[in-house]
Symmetry: C2
Subunit: 263 residues, 2 copies
């Protein structure tokens, strides 16, 4: 009895994934996603399948689907799952694709602090690998709705050192003393594709950010590749008004990526 | 298109596993393995399947197999894998079983230091969860054989704080200044079932152990539930002779667990 060739993905989380915004049967930011996947594969020493063939499989998976969708891609290292050593480096990685409906994107989002912390692991930091129990535990800290059951909600995560790092499924940007900042992700956290785009289009410094800096921020937004740029409106009793910088950045994003174009 | 109900296991490593020594169609230490699994399930808030039914499935899987075997059990949280939140707490966890040939157990083993470190994550420490990329990366540091291609080999892992914690797939015990010690596993590492048995049958203190303490030890052994008690004979140029305490402990193990009985 055996569990098939994809054991390592399930047994050890020995793989990588990408969650991508699809638009009219393709992934507009395919090159950005593939580049991040390649960085993760290099770090984990996983041999990726051919990019062109994978992109073709992605377009096939999206064919006849809705104009807007989410495409999830997962790569699992090849080889058997019993024992940590891969059976052979020659066994190709397994590719899994699935399509999903695009979730509704709110105009703004409320956040809460999670008590689950992110461990410091520079060897894995930045990569979108499949060891995500910290995110699962953090997400389990609240239910389906917000504190009052109405808001769209995200959870803020700190590292075990106490620095604010990210939201459970998003990167974050804060405006402090007139400067936009985003947490360093050299010890934990994920190098989001949307984070990468923002770093190219907004004057942002990468810093260690303490919770009190976050609380004193003049504006906050979250980013991910599916929902784009999400202004944060509330943290507990604290409220943030819409900010011109964020609105301007959203307009630039709409111009740069057809999936985020304003109707 | 969807990847089935076991997405969370593969996408996030959102599960637990046990690798068990089977003997004559059953798992002699089933109760110990189940107890550890239950502790992990409580920590991760995964609802386990019924123990009696699972044990019956295990015996069915082992039926008609060899006298000695390895049985691997994996539990994946129920619910879909898109988004970190489980779709519903009512979706039962998925159970996977597979049987494998018993690997040869050497009389003694050589060890080497791994450069991959274990991150400090008290929320996951001790549990045999499916987020094992650190072990995979550590195991990738050496090939099939030992440094000289002959010895059975294991890799020693330190935490990011620099304490010696475990071998890649085993716990460790060292004799230092006349006292047996084993690393604390409150911040990283796995609470091995065989480690638990040794703690009950040998006078051992749980300590933070620095690499130089390890190097100065008078005797060292590794433990895991498949290979039992493995004396360490060599680390680089350093050699350890067989030690009476270890031989005595192996005799006690042979009396306590039929799979480890000496022929």
């Amino acid at each position: 009895m055996d569990m098939g060739t994809d054991d390592r993905g399930a047994m050890y989380g020995d793989g990588l994934f990408e969650t991508m915004r699809a638009h009219r049967g393709d992934v507009p930011w395919w090159a950005r996603h593939w580049a991040r996947l390649q960085r993760g594969a290099d770090a984990l020493r996983i041999a990726l399948p051919d990019e062109q063939q994978t992109h073709a499989s992605v377009r096939t998976a999206l064919r006849d689907g809705p104009i807007e969708a989410v495409l999830k891609l997962r790569i699992a290292r090849g080889g058997a799952g019993r024992g940590y050593a891969p059976a052979s480096a020659d066994v190709p990685a397994a590719l899994h694709l699935s399509t999903h409906a695009l979730p509704e994107t709110p105009d703004a989002i409320a956040v809460r602090w999670c008590s689950t912390r992110l461990a410091l692991q520079p060897a894995l930091a930045g990569h979108k690998h499949c060891n995500r129990l910290e995110q699962v535990l953090a997400r389990l800290e609240w239910g389906d709705g917000g504190a009052d059951g109405h808001d769209a909600f995200e959870g803020l995560m700190c590292s075990t050192r106490g620095d604010v790092v990210c939201a459970v499924a998003a990167n974050m940007f804060v405006l402090a003393d007139g400067h936009w900042l985003t947490p360093c992700i050299d010890r934990c956290g994920v190098a989001g594709v949307m984070r990468g785009w923002v770093l190219e289009h907004l004057d942002v410094a990468q810093r260690r950010i303490r919770p009190d800096m976050f609380q004193r921020a003049d504006a906050v937004f979250l980013t991910n590749a599916v929902r784009g740029i999400l202004p944060v409106a509330r943290l507990g009793t604290q409220q943030w008004a819409p900010h011109d910088d964020i609105a301007a950045l959203r307009r630039r994003l709409a111009a740069a990526h057809p999936g985020f174009a304003v109707d």
